[in-house]
């Protein structure tokens, strides 16, 4: 009969020799193997202190990006919400008032912007749909929470820190997470 895999093995049915019946040689062999593991390198990572880097294609928590002058990029066009297959994104648009030009990049902006992280499947389609480069998926995992309400991320939770006032936090949020791993 033709073998289905290349791992086929003929079963031996001959009775065990005395050495095999004693079992002790195989036990010592096994103990030698376990003993050698005492000195092997441990692949364990002490998690909260050390973190494995995510692959560059990893899609984690969202951020709403700002431009280099610290203005919000989002114009509340709603394309991300339309693209979202899980219907996790909702938003309300508002009109930029005179004197708010340093806050918002376009005449229209998102007054409310919410992502329900319980619905989100982290597909990244919102990122692709966005014409203004406003929404990005970072390399952070959404943290756990006790209630369902805590998983609905408001604009305050999503918006990236202002690069003009808080450069450091901005760089951190932009995605340096996971690079400090030995």
């Amino acid at each position: 009969m033709q073998a289905l895999t290349n791992r086929k093995k003929q079963v031996e049915r001959k009775p065990m020799t005395l050495m095999e019946k004693l079992y002790l040689p195989s036990i010592f062999k096994g103990m030698g193997i376990t003993f050698s593991h005492l000195f092997k390198k441990k692949p364990t990572i002490s998690y909260p202190e050390q973190q494995r880097p995510f692959p560059s294609v990893f899609r984690g928590l969202h951020i709403l990006n700002r431009d280099e002058e610290g203005r919000e990029r989002c114009t509340a066009c709603g394309l991300c919400a339309v693209a979202c297959p899980a219907e996790a994104i909702t938003m309300e648009a508002a009109e930029r008032q005179p004197g708010e030009e340093h806050l918002f990049r376009e005449e229209k902006y998102a007054a409310k912007y919410e992502i329900n992280m319980l619905r989100c499947i982290f597909c990244g389609l919102c990122e692709e749909a966005c014409p203004k480069d406003a929404i990005y998926l970072t390399q952070t995992v959404a943290p756990a929470n006790y209630g369902r309400k805590g998983f609905i991320y408001k604009k305050e939770d999503l918006l990236i820190p202002d690069p003009t006032t808080d450069r450091e936090a901005y760089e951190k949020a932009k995605g340096t997470i996971g690079t400090g791993v030995k």
Binding site: G30, M31, T34, H37, K40, P43
Partner: protein, 347 residues
């Protein structure tokens, strides 16, 4: 004076008991830590490393956790016996340490103080007697919890311990033939003079060691706590510190059996190729002997753990086969050969 009590003896023995029981408890405590660490190292992990430096406070954290846990006594259990089970296990585990010689006789302010609680002339028999009482801890625990699985596991454990005690006793008889004395101190002195018993009794030691594994319910003989066949074994209904005591008693047993094996086969507190008697009876000589004995015991504890994390558990019929058809005849043969050799040499 009819009732002249030597108060020094009483004080001396009390101090000895306190020191030895404390040592046994601390060693058992840190055996739990060592077990987890060794298991981790053998499996390329790190093991407990959060509580204190290198996780050294882990046993304390475990103890606190066990004490804080909710304690459940099943309604249909027999309450007195249910509470007595772990107690018995603990008591029998610690009682064995009484006849073990822990070091040379030392000189304390002109008094000869042997580092042994009781040098009874049936020393090794006493150990066997107490160890077989350990069955009660398992049996009562399993029976009192009124759970069929616990009972089955307890019966298994009891029959296993009794089966292996036979081969253990027979393998020991060969040693006693060589020494010609049942006193533990005499066994050690004989070995310091004539070389360790392991040289003359390698097969006897192997049988004794395997039986000790079975008596301590260590893997590959840990059938009384077979969690996958019998749900959890004889301590299934136990919770909180009562379960802790059962597990703790197992570690004390392991330590004591390591000490007993060092004493019987590896010269006890004797350092090979060193004439310790020439050093005199200083207190530090006693301490060195104690340290040497502990080192041997620790080596055995490590060996126990190493075996545990290497060899899978026996099937029950295999276990009984090995005990009755393998080890018992072997021990008998070993005894016979030793008897013949001893007879021929003494002629």
């Amino acid at each position: 004076m009819l009732l002249q009590i030597d108060w020094f003896i009483i004080i001396e023995k009390f101090i000895l008991i306190a020191v030895i029981v404390t040592t046994a408890l601390i060693v058992a405590m840190y055996s739990t830590y060592a077990e987890r660490k060794i298991a981790a190292f053998l499996q390329d992990r790190r093991g407990p490393n959060r509580a204190g430096p290198f996780g050294l406070l882990q046993p304390l954290a475990d103890g606190v956790k066990l004490f804080m846990k909710e304690e459940i006594i099943p309604l249909t259990s027999s309450k007195t016996l249910f509470i007595m089970g772990p107690l018995l296990a603990m008591i029998t585990a610690t009682m064995t340490s009484a006849v073990i010689p822990w070091g040379w006789t030392i000189d304390v302010a002109g008094r000869q103080v042997p580092l042994q609680i009781a040098d009874v002339n049936i020393g090794i028999l006493y150990i066997f007697g107490v160890v077989s009482l350990g069955v009660y801890g398992i049996m009562i625990g399993g029976w009192a919890s009124n759970n069929k699985f616990s009972l089955l596991a307890a019966v298994r454990g009891a029959s296993q311990m009794i089966s292996y005690e036979l081969a253990m006793g027979l393998s020991l008889i060969a040693v006693l033939m060589l020494v010609g004395d049942l006193r533990m101190s005499a066994i050690v002195t004989h070995q310091t003079q004539h070389g360790w018993n392991i040289i003359y009794q390698p097969l006897g030691f192997l049988i004794f060691f395997v039986c000790a594994l079975a008596e301590c319910n260590r893997t590959p003989f840990d059938l009384p706590e077979a969690e996958n066949e019998l749900n959890f074994g004889y301590h299934q209904e136990y919770s909180s510190m009562k379960l802790g005591f059962y597990l703790f008693a197992e570690y004390i047993n392991m330590f004591i059996s390591g000490v007993v094996m060092s004493t019987l086969f590896f010269g006890g507190y004797d350092i090979p190729f060193v004439n310790e008697a020439a050093w005199g009876a200083h207190w530090w000589v006693g301490l060195i002997g104690f340290a040497v004995l502990m080192a041997k015991a620790f080596a055995f504890i490590f060996l126990f753990m190493w075996i545990r994390w290497t060899i899978p558990r026996f099937r029950y019929d295999q276990l009984m086969n090995l005990g009755w058809k393998g080890l018992l005849p072997l021990a008998l043969v070993n005894m016979l050969i030793t008897a013949v050799v001893v007879l021929l040499l003494n002629k």
